[in-house]
């Protein structure tokens, strides 16, 4: 956030990546701590449901089996400048991983704009 990104003009956005990570819920605290350590100053966290290769899980009530096709996950949304982005992705991948299916996914894309509601600042200063 403090350093200027490389070549604002070369991209459509303003040198900021928007990262969405879907992780296992029990990894949230570890990931949050690790990201704090590398300079990430904010994120949005939500509890979500979905499925991938892990598919769903089976619930059994008095012998009646129900297969739920959605599993609970945690979604992180983080906006960081381009320089920090690879480090963030690498950190999440390392910390949130258990080596099993169902560890989650990380998506990243260029952010077009950002506005700080309190001051009306836009662009990278709004982060």
């Amino acid at each position: 956030m403090c350093e200027a990104g490389d070549g604002i003009g070369s991209k459509q956005g303003f040198g900021v990546k928007f990262i969405i990570a879907i992780i296992k819920p029990f990894k949230l605290d570890e990931v949050r701590e690790a990201l704090g350590g590398i300079g990430v100053e904010g994120m949005t966290v939500s509890e979500v449901k979905g499925f991938g290769r892990q598919k769903g899980q089976t619930e059994i009530y008095r012998g009646a089996e129900y297969t739920t096709n959605m599993l609970p996950k945690v979604k992180l949304e983080i906006a960081v400048n381009d320089a920090l982005a690879p480090k963030v992705i690498e950190t999440i991948q390392e910390v949130a991983g258990t080596g099993n299916i169902g560890d989650g996914k990380i998506f990243a894309f260029d952010l077009a704009d950002a506005t700080r509601i309190r001051t009306g600042e836009t662009g990278e200063t709004a982060l």
Partner: protein, 460 residues
């Protein structure tokens, strides 16, 4: 005054065969209470006075049974339903219990334990008199199994809670689709033609199964088989819930169900140990049995889940608790502790098989397994009581009735209860179906009975 005692004397309440001999002359024996002759003329019978200790225990036991209903059963059943039917399930239970209480003091007590014993066949099925509790006041008493007495109002209250919970138990089979108005219409008819006669047959002097020597300490037949079979008949008449069994209908709150299970277990001590009608050793026996049979039932269910390749579950634990409690109900004062453990294990295993395997094959929709656990567990308990009663298993029986003979007596009482409850429920339900209909509309069912029947939601 003495009229009252003689009347009560005719309607003795037996829950275990060992008491039969003591019953006849038990009241007059209470003459020996204190130095009764001081003031009373010799010619007049001395008024038996309730022992405060026994009275205090029976009042406590009565309230414990109320705790089983509200909030125990309400939470147990409520948690098992989908969240859109939580209030409907709990409200039906509460309102049913209240209605049963009022019916009980108007004519229920009369038909089951009333002061007038009828001669001949009629007396096998019902009694009369005592309508609107006539002839009772704070000084009248009811007999126990020894020469003690308890206040009659306490006895009426205690038995009242049994009628209330039995009617409420049925609602587990009808949950999530029966109209509130239909429940309210069904309950008084059902109590009158099913519950009161069965309670009389099993527990009142002169009753059909009482005279036959059937053992039912706290209501294996009267309460559990009765409620289970009645629920099953209603479940068939109502039809399956919309979407069952294709659509998943998991319990909306296992936490509520667990809380309800705990309250049921605690309250059950009033139910079982209270059925001794005194704070005596028989109550103590019922107490220890209500602990260990239940513990064995709970763990057995979880072990079976593990054995068939599932995980030991919270619902399995709760189901096992109830299966154990139901089975030990007729045996509470009729078994030694290790016989009770065997009963808990057997009941849990059979009930598991009934709800997890048989139910799916037969295709009826007993929403919360009122039949699968109360009906089946009650049958295991009622028949098993003949075995655990025997002295070789540490039971309190003296061996004077051969086990095979007792088994047949117990089996007959089970068959009579099944038949009576099944036919009676069919009649009561068809009357209600004709008059107001049993089932809510499809739209009301999809929206949930909380909003469509009561105009509320459980969770906002």
């Amino acid at each position: 005054m003495s009229r009252t005692y003689e009347m009560r004397g005719n309607s003795m309440f037996r829950k275990f065969a060992g008491a039969a001999g003591a019953i006849g002359a038990s009241f007059i024996a209470s003459l020996s209470f204190g130095t009764a002759a001081i003031a009373a003329p010799v010619a007049e019978a001395v008024v038996p006075v309730a022992n405060p200790g026994n009275n205090a225990w029976m009042m406590t036991a009565t309230i414990l049974v109320l705790l089983m209903i509200l909030p125990g059963l309400a939470l147990f059943y409520g948690g098992l339903t989908r969240s859109k039917n939580m209030l409907s399930t709990m409200t039906q239970i509460g309102a049913t219990a209240c209605l049963a209480m009022l019916v009980w003091v108007m004519w229920g007590f009369s038909l089951a334990f009333g002061s007038t014993s009828y001669e001949g066949t009629l007396g096998l099925f019902i009694s009369g008199g005592s309508y609107f509790l006539s002839g009772m006041d704070a000084s009248t008493t009811a007999a126990t199994f020894t020469d003690e007495v308890i206040s009659e109002y306490v006895f009426v209250s205690f038995q009242m809670t049994f009628a209330a919970i039995t009617a409420a138990l049925i609602l587990g089979a009808t949950a999530e689709r029966m109209k509130f108005s239909a429940v309210m219409a069904f309950v008084p008819i059902w109590l009158t033609i099913v519950y009161f006669p069965i309670a009389h047959m099993v527990w009142a002097g002169g009753g059909l199964m009482f005279e036959d020597g059937a053992l039912d300490f706290a209501g294996g037949t009267v309460v559990h088989i009765n409620a289970g079979v009645s629920g099953l008949v209603l479940a068939y008449l109502l039809g399956k819930r919309r979407g069952y069994p294709a659509e998943p209908m998991p319990p909306h709150s296992m936490v509520m169900t667990m809380i309800g299970t705990g309250l049921l277990w605690v309250g059950w001590f009033g139910f079982n140990a209270g059925s001794a009608l005194e704070a005596d050793g028989s109550a103590g026996l019922a107490m220890i049995n209500t602990f260990v049979a239940t513990a064995a039932g709970a763990l057995t269910w979880m072990v079976i889940e593990k054995m068939v390749g599932h995980k030991g579950s919270a619902l399995g634990f709760c189901s096992g608790v109830i299966a154990g409690l139901v089975a030990v109900t007729p045996a509470a004062g009729n078994s030694g502790p290790f016989g009770a453990i065997l009963l808990g294990i057997a009941s849990s295993a059979v009930c598991y098989f009934a709800v997890a395997k048989v139910k799916a094959k037969l295709g009826y929709d007993d929403s919360l397994d009122a039949f699968g656990i109360h009906g089946i567990g009650g049958i295991v308990g009622a028949i098993g009581t003949a075995i655990v009663y025997q002295p070789f298993l540490g039971g309190p029986g003296d061996g004077s009735t051969a086990m095979s003979a007792q088994l047949w007596i117990q089996t007959k009482s089970v068959l009579i209860t099944i038949g009576w409850a099944g036919i009676g429920t069919l009649i009561a339900a068809l009357i209600v179906k004709t008059l107001i209909g049993l089932r809510v509309s499809e739209e009301a069912e999809v929206d949930g009975l909380d909003i469509s029947e009561h105009g509320e939601r459980a969770y906002n």
